[in-house]
C-alpha cells in the first residue's frame, strides 16, 4: 500500500503546498509561521497545552516537562512500564502446543504501548484487562477528535464523542490520579515524605509546580496532549514498521539475525518513520512576510501552508537516489535519519526520546536506552512474527493508518521479552 497515494483532504484546499525537505524544515524552525489547521480539535482538547504555547511561556513549560525525558526517566519507563506490558500482552495470547499464537498487530500495539503512556502521564488504575480496554477505548475516541480536521466523517459528531470520552477519562482515571498525587505532594510539603518519594510523571510535575493561574483543566489538557501524542502516533507507526521489517527479511534471508539486534532495529525504526508518516500534512499560517533562504520562495503573511512530509522525507537530494526504499543501512550525514516526522524547531515532539531512545554514545556507566519501536520490534521479531492475512487500512480518515493486520507468532513469549530486556546481547553474541 502506498502512503503517497491518498486523497487530498479538504482542509488543505487553497493552501500553498510545500514538498521540498529543506523548505519545510525551514518553515518548521521559523518564527514567521504559526500552527494552523486543527482549530476545532485544539480548542476543544489542547487549549493552553504545550502544543498551543509560543515564546517564553512555551520555553518555560518545555523546560519543566523535559525532566520527564532524561536518561533515568527513559530507562525507568522502559523497565517498569513498557517491558512488563509487552510481556503481559504476549503471555495472555492463546499459545498452542507447538508454540504458535494468532493475534492482530494493531490492537496488540495499542495494548503494548498503553502502560508506558499512562505511566508518563501519571494515570493510575490501568492494570487489568478491562481497565486497559476502557483506557484504550477512551484514548482512541479522544485521539480521533483531536485530529478531527483530517476526518472524513462528521466533525461535530467526532468532537462530541471525543469530549464525552475525555469526561469519562477525567472521572475514571485523571481525577483519582490527580487527587492521589496532591496528597503525596502535601506529605512532601509537611515533611512527611521526601521529594524523591514522588512519582515521576506529568501530573505530579505540573501539580507540584502549579502556578497561580493554572486550573486543573490545564493539567487535563496537557495530559490529553501527552496521551494522544505518545500512544496514538506510535500505534500508527509501529505496524508499518513491522511490515517493512518483514519485507526486508524476505529480501535479505542471509541477514535475519539482524532482526533481533537492537542497534539494527533502532536504525530500521528511524528509516520506517522517515518513509511512513500517518498524518497527510501539517498546516502552518504565515504571520509575517518572509523569503525562505532554502529556495528563495516568497510567502506573504496570511498564507496558509500545507507541509507534505511524506514526499519531503523521500527527497532524493537529501536521502539519496533510493530515498523511496526502506534501507536500514542508510547513512544520512547532514539531516536527522527520521526526516521531518517529529516536526522541527522548538516545537519538535517532546516525547521523541520515547520513540528514538537515547542518541549518541552513552556516557560511561550507562547503557543505551532503546525506544518503544525498537523494544516492541525486538520482542516480535524474536517470536518470528509473520503476517497471515490481508492488512486493512482504517476507514473514515485521511491518516495512513492500519485498522487490522492479522499476525502469527511462534516461540516462547517469556524468553522473547527477557531477550529484549537484555537488549539482545545474548542473541547477538550467539549469532
Amino acid at each position: 500500500m502506498d502512503a503517497l497515494a491518498r486523497d487530498e483532504p479538504p482542509v488543505v484546499a487553497g493552501a500553498m503546498n510545500l514538498t521540498d525537505h529543506d523548505e519545510i524544515a525551514e518553515v518548521l524552525k521559523s518564527s514567521a509561521f504559526a500552527q494552523a489547521g486543527l482549530p476545532k480539535g485544539v480548542e476543544s482538547f489542547l487549549k493552553n497545552s504545550l502544543f498551543a504555547l509560543h515564546g517564553q511561556e512555551h520555553f518555560e513549560r518545555r523546560r519543566l516537562e523535559s525532566k520527564l525525558f532524561g536518561y533515568e526517566a527513559l530507562r525507568g519507563y522502559r523497565e517498569t512500564a513498557l517491558q512488563p506490558s509487552i510481556r503481559r500482552c504476549l503471555e495472555v495470547l492463546e499459545w498452542d502446543a507447538s508454540g504458535v499464537a494468532h493475534t492482530d498487530l494493531v490492537p496488540l500495539t495499542w495494548k503494548m504501548l498503553h502502560q508506558i503512556s499512562a505511566t508518563v502521564v501519571g494515570l493510575d488504575g490501568v492494570e487489568s484487562e478491562s481497565q486497559t480496554a476502557r483506557f484504550i477505548e477512551l484514548v482512541q475516541a479522544i485521539g480521533s477528535a483531536v485530529v478531527v480536521d483530517w476526518s472524513k466523517g462528521s466533525a461535530d459528531d467526532l468532537i462530541a464523542q471525543g469530549l464525552a470520552a475525555r469526561r469519562a477519562l477525567e472521572e475514571e482515571f485523571f481525577r483519582p490520579s490527580l487527587e492521589r498525587r496532591m496528597g503525596l505532594i502535601a506529605e512532601v510539603t509537611e515533611g512527611a515524605r521526601p521529594m524523591e518519594g514522588l512519582p515521576r510523571d506529568l501530573i505530579t510535575l505540573l501539580a507540584s509546580h502549579r502556578q497561580d493561574h493554572w486550573q486543573d483543566e490545564l493539567i487535563l489538557h496537557e495530559s490529553t496532549l501527552f496521551l494522544v501524542a505518545s500512544i496514538q502516533t506510535t500505534s500508527q507507526a509501529f505496524p508499518q514498521f513491522v511490515l517493512q521489517l518483514l519485507d526486508w527479511k524476505a529480501k535479505n534471508p542471509d541477514r535475519v539475525s539482524a532482526l533481533v539486534d537492537p542497534r539494527f532495529l533502532r536504525a530500521a525504526s528511524y528509516e520506517s518513520l522517515r518513509l511512513f508518516e500517518a498524518a497527510p500534512a501539517r498546516m502552518r499560517l504565515c504571520v509575517e512576510d518572509i523569503e525562505l533562504k532554502s529556495t528563495g520562495r516568497r510567502i506573504e503573511a496570511g498564507t496558509v501552508l500545507a507541509l507534505w512530509f511524506s514526499p519531503a522525507n523521500r527527497d532524493r537530494d537529501v536521502f539519496g537516489d533510493d530515498a523511496d526504499t526502506f534501507n536500514p543501512d542508510r547513512e544520512v550525514s547532514e539531516r536527522p535519519p527520521w526526516g521531518l516526522v517529529f516536526g522541527g524547531g522548538a516545537h519538535m515532539c517532546i516525547g521523541k526520546p520515547l520513540v528514538t531512545g537515547t542518541l549518541g554514545e552513552p556516557r560511561s556507566g550507562e547503557e543505551p536506552v532503546y525506544g518503544t519501536m525498537t523494544t516492541m520490534a525486538q520482542a516480535l521479531m524474536s517470536l518470528d512474527v509473520a503476517v497471515e492475512g490481508e492488512p486493512q487500512l482504517k476507514d473514515g480518515t485521511y491518516y495512513f493508518e492500519y485498522a487490522s493486520i492479522p499476525i502469527r507468532l511462534k516461540g516462547d513469549p517469556t524468553a522473547a521479552v527477557q531477550a529484549a530486556a537484555g537488549d539482545g546481547h545474548e542473541m547477538r553474541d550467539a549469532g
Binding site: S66, H347, E361
Partner: protein
C-alpha cells in the same frame, strides 16, 4: 565531563543558550549552536545535562562520568 552539539541535529532553537550562555552560544547566521568550553566546570555540569534533556532536537550530547 564534556558537552558537544551534534550539528546534524541542531536546529538553532536556542534553548541551550537560555539554560546557560556560559556553556553554549548561538553564532550569527545559520550554523549550529557552539560549545564554549572544552571541559565543564562542576557548576556547569547540571546545566549541561539540563540542556541535553531540554534540547527539542536531542542535539546536545553530554559525555563522561556523571
Amino acid at each position: 565531563m564534556k558537552v558537544k552539539v551534534d550539528a546534524r541535529l541542531c536546529e538553532r532553537t536556542g534553548f541551550c543558550v537560555q539554560v546557560s550562555d556560559a556553556v553554549f552560544e548561538l553564532p550569527e547566521g545559520s550554523g549550529p549552536a557552539r560549545v564554549l568550553t572544552d571541559e565543564l566546570a562542576p557548576s556547569q555540569e547540571e546545566l549541561a545535562i539540563e540542556a541535553m534533556e531540554l534540547c527539542p532536537t536531542q542535539a546536545v550530547i553530554v559525555e563522561g562520568n556523571r
